[in-house]
């Protein structure tokens, strides 16, 4: 019994010692939060930094774009993250909140592009879809043919109902849940892009923006769109098991699994590295990270991390990030953001 008491006291002492260390209040590594889409690229850069320099490897949390901005904008100080990754541009409201909390200077860095692919199993035939097809197949409400301004709950059961040139296969799409940045981007680029092809919906945008958004951005809930969780590997496995189903995920997962799945053509363009890089593939988005300028000089390794990420050997046309599936920006844009990082030009509210 006495031994047990001694043991417990010793453990308690160790814990208190740990606690007292905390109160010292400094941090010698870069803390990064944000999008799960940028995570695979940021981690590679962080690891490179940790292995080739004397700085500690930055810590990267995958919190999602929205969660990242929330943590990032909470204030200035070592307990708050230095950088947030984002698979979309920062919102005006988010920047306003940052400034209110004392994060007055935020530097925006665009790192490259990511394509969102609609893919199916190699056992099935390759589909040639348009964005309009995707809208008509996946929106909750779709326009009634021939009647302008009228909508009905989505009656389409098979792809043939959507577009006679497509096979008569049941509509079954596995995709990410609403918390995902991939879902936001898919809805915005593919579904809204498709809806705009219908004349009166495009006109609706000017008349009644909220009705337009509700129509374009609401995904059907009758089982045709299946929320498959954030894990894209799982979607790939499910596609293999069910050749009729389609899946929605980031380009890097298609790139890694070309033996199992194939990307559908969208508006006549196949999702290839080159097509996304030159902008001809319509469903692609820009990836960003945002830097707290106030931390650049106080946290060791910040400048090195920024320099590493924006170096030609990382995010350049043949950099190591392209091996991981990042689609690089054109040279002029890369040079522009390298200068932004060099001068640490903060983002202005009027830029958004």
């Amino acid at each position: 019994m006495k031994k047990a008491i001694v043991f417990v006291t010793a453990l308690a002492a160790v814990v208190t010692l740990g606690l007292s260390n905390v109160c010292a209040g400094s941090r010698d590594y870069v803390s990064i939060v944000g999008s799960s889409t940028v995570y695979p690229f940021a981690t590679v850069v962080a690891e490179q930094l940790g292995k080739t320099t004397s700085y500690k490897t930055p810590k990267i949390e995958s919190t999602g774009s929205g969660g990242g901005h929330k943590l990032f904008g909470a204030g200035v100080g070592v307990q708050h993250p230095d950088i947030t990754n984002s698979s979309r541009r920062i919102k005006k409201s988010e920047l306003e909140k940052d400034i209110k909390n004392g994060v007055t200077e935020v530097v925006e860095v665009k790192v490259g592009y990511d394509g969102i692919v609609v893919a199916n199993s190699k056992k099935a035939s390759n589909l040639k879809l348009t964005r309009k097809d995707l809208f008509l197949a996946l929106a909750k409400d779709v326009p009634v043919a021939g009647q302008e301004g009228k909508t009905q709950p989505n009656p389409n059961k098979t792809w043939k109902d959507v577009n006679p040139s497509l096979p008569a296969v049941k509509i079954e799409v596995l995709g990410p849940p609403p918390t995902s940045g991939t879902r936001d981007a898919f809805v915005e680029l593919a579904m809204e892009g498709g809806a705009k092809k219908i004349g009166w919906i495009k006109a609706l945008k000017k008349k009644d923006k909220s009705a337009y958004k509700a129509l374009c951005h609401t995904v059907r809930e009758d089982g045709a769109y299946i929320e498959a969780g954030e894990n894209d590997n799982l979607i790939v496995q499910k596609l293999e098991a069910n050749p009729d189903a389609l899946g929605i995920f980031g380009f890097s997962f298609l790139d890694q699994n070309t033996d199992k799945i194939q990307g559908s053509f969208i508006d006549g363009v196949a999702p290839t590295f080159d097509a996304i890089a030159d902008g001809s593939y319509p469903v692609s988005r820009a990836l960003y990270f945002y830097v707290k300028k106030a931390h650049v000089d106080t946290i060791p390794g910040m400048k090195a991390y920024l320099a590493e990420f924006t170096s030609e050997k990382a995010f350049g046309a043949e950099g190591y990030l392209t091996d991981k599936g990042l689609i690089p920006m054109p040279k002029a844009e890369r040079d522009k953001y390298r200068m932004v990082v060099k001068n640490l030009t903060p983002l202005k509210l009027s830029d958004l």
Binding site: E47, E230, D255
Partner: protein, 433 residues
């Protein structure tokens, strides 16, 4: 049964004997018993089947992760390029690439060279640097060194990338496969036990990724959990069982403890975020905070198990102690507690095993993160084993699939060990009255 029945008296109905009723229902009762046993057996067989399917699928996917493909390179350690006073600055990557180029002189275009360089892992240059630091006398010579292969080559060798399909259907094109086959012909490719997997931290390169960082994080977290939850849990149980009066308040406390045991673990994570991070200002991603949160989660389990252990100590022990003049504290510390301790320890170990496998509450306090450096203390950023599994399962690289399964095997091994220890302790120290 075989006795002839006595002749019934005229007119009156035969009296029904109990034995007849029993005999009539006997076949049905046997049937029912057989059915009941069969259902129980089926239940056990079903659960064992599920378990073995799980183990087989994890094992068959993961066992290859314990091996790593290595490539032998003849590297010339140019004495002009290596500064003997400062070994760290030499261009080791360049030397590895020169060695590759020498093996395949026919590769000339820039595009193909990039593909060629990708045969070996980016970790090759670190291995070379290590070698040079240990063997300074070799500078100036040409040495032959085994370096890890890239994850794609590894997958090809292990058969996860098929060679017999057209090249647009796999990640490596025919040219890359022919290079690998050329190396195989020269016996320059071998697989060996993957020590990196057990000694390395996380990495985005599957061939360099290891679980040691996560294992250390799990260790620090569990130390904090154990140091806090065991004394608090046992003290609470002893007070409630031995000292507390039975009234409305203790009933309420009891209901609440039982309730707390069933609260989803993510709720404890939210509590940890609000209290430990936001109010006390403790660092994010630290095992200290993870341990505190898991303490909250395991406390009810330990309290309930400890109370059950205390209850099983017969009252005669207490009465005898009090009878010879021991105080209540002496009775508890000298007699009841030692007898109840094995049961308490069993409960604690099971609670710890639960905490070891937990991810949800750690999500909220930032322990779901990419951390390469091995944590060296309670406040260093770190992650834990199940989180590492989660992060690998989410990575696009094909080679992480086997790493995921292998990490699951390691975690299961820990869990089995802990549960076996709990059973061993119970068997060894348990007393029957």
């Amino acid at each position: 049964m075989n006795k002839p029945e006595s002749k019934p008296k005229t007119g009156a109905p035969a009296p029904v004997r109990t034995m007849d009723i029993v005999n009539k229902g006997l076949a049905r009762r046997y049937r029912r018993e057989r059915r009941f046993k069969a259902i129980g057996l089926i239940a056990i067989i079903a659960s064992l089947t599920f378990l073995s399917v799980l183990f087989i699928s994890i094992g068959s996917k993961g066992y290859t992760a314990f091996e790593q493909t290595m490539i032998q390179l003849d590297v010339h350690l140019d004495s002009e390029k290596i500064d003997k006073d400062n070994l760290a600055v030499a261009n080791y990557l360049g030397m590895v690439r020169t060695a590759l180029k020498k093996s395949f002189p026919e590769v000339t275009t820039r595009r193909d060279k990039r593909k060629l360089y990708r045969l070996v892992s980016t970790g090759a240059s670190y291995d070379l640097q290590d070698f040079v630091e240990k063997n300074r006398h070799e500078i100036g010579n040409t040495i032959s060194i085994w370096v890890p292969a890239d994850d794609d080559v590894d997958m090809l060798i292990k058969g996860h990338i098929r060679r017999d399909v057209p090249q647009d259907q796999r990640r490596m094109n025919d040219m890359q496969v022919s290079w690998v086959e050329h190396l195989e012909d020269q016996d320059r490719i071998k697989t060996q036990f993957n020590t990196t997997f057990f000694t390395g931290g996380d990495s985005r390169e599957p061939e360099l990724a290891g679980i040691w960082g996560a294992a250390c994080g799990s260790f620090y977290t569990l130390v904090v959990t154990l140091a806090l939850s065991f004394p608090i849990g046992v003290a609470a149980a002893v007070y409630l069982e031995e000292f507390a009066p039975t009234n409305k308040w203790t009933d309420i406390i009891e209901v609440n403890i039982n309730n707390l045991a069933a609260v989803p673990s993510i709720v404890f994570g939210l509590l940890g975020l609000a209290v430990f991070l936001n109010f006390f200002g403790l660092p994010r991603s630290a095992p200290l905070v993870g341990g505190l949160v898991l303490t909250l989660m395991t406390l009810p389990t330990i309290i309930i198990a400890s109370r059950a252990a205390l209850k099983s100590v017969p009252p005669s022990i207490r009465e005898a102690a009090l009878g010879v003049g021991a105080s209540k504290t002496q009775m508890v510390t000298h007699h009841v507690l030692p007898l109840a301790l094995p049961g308490m320890l069993t409960g604690t170990i099971i609670g710890m095993a639960q905490a070891l496998g937990e991810t949800a509450p750690l999500l909220m306090i930032g322990m779901v993160a990419f951390i390469v450096d091995i944590p060296g203390g309670f406040t260093d950023p770190s992650t834990v084993l199940p989180v590492q599994i989660f992060l690998w399962a989410d990575s696009p690289e094909r080679a992480f699939l086997e790493k995921t399964s292998a990490a699951i095997m390691v975690l299961l091994a820990f869990l089995v060990t802990m549960n076996a220890l709990a059973i061993f302790l119970r068997k060894k120290f348990e007393r029957r009255w």
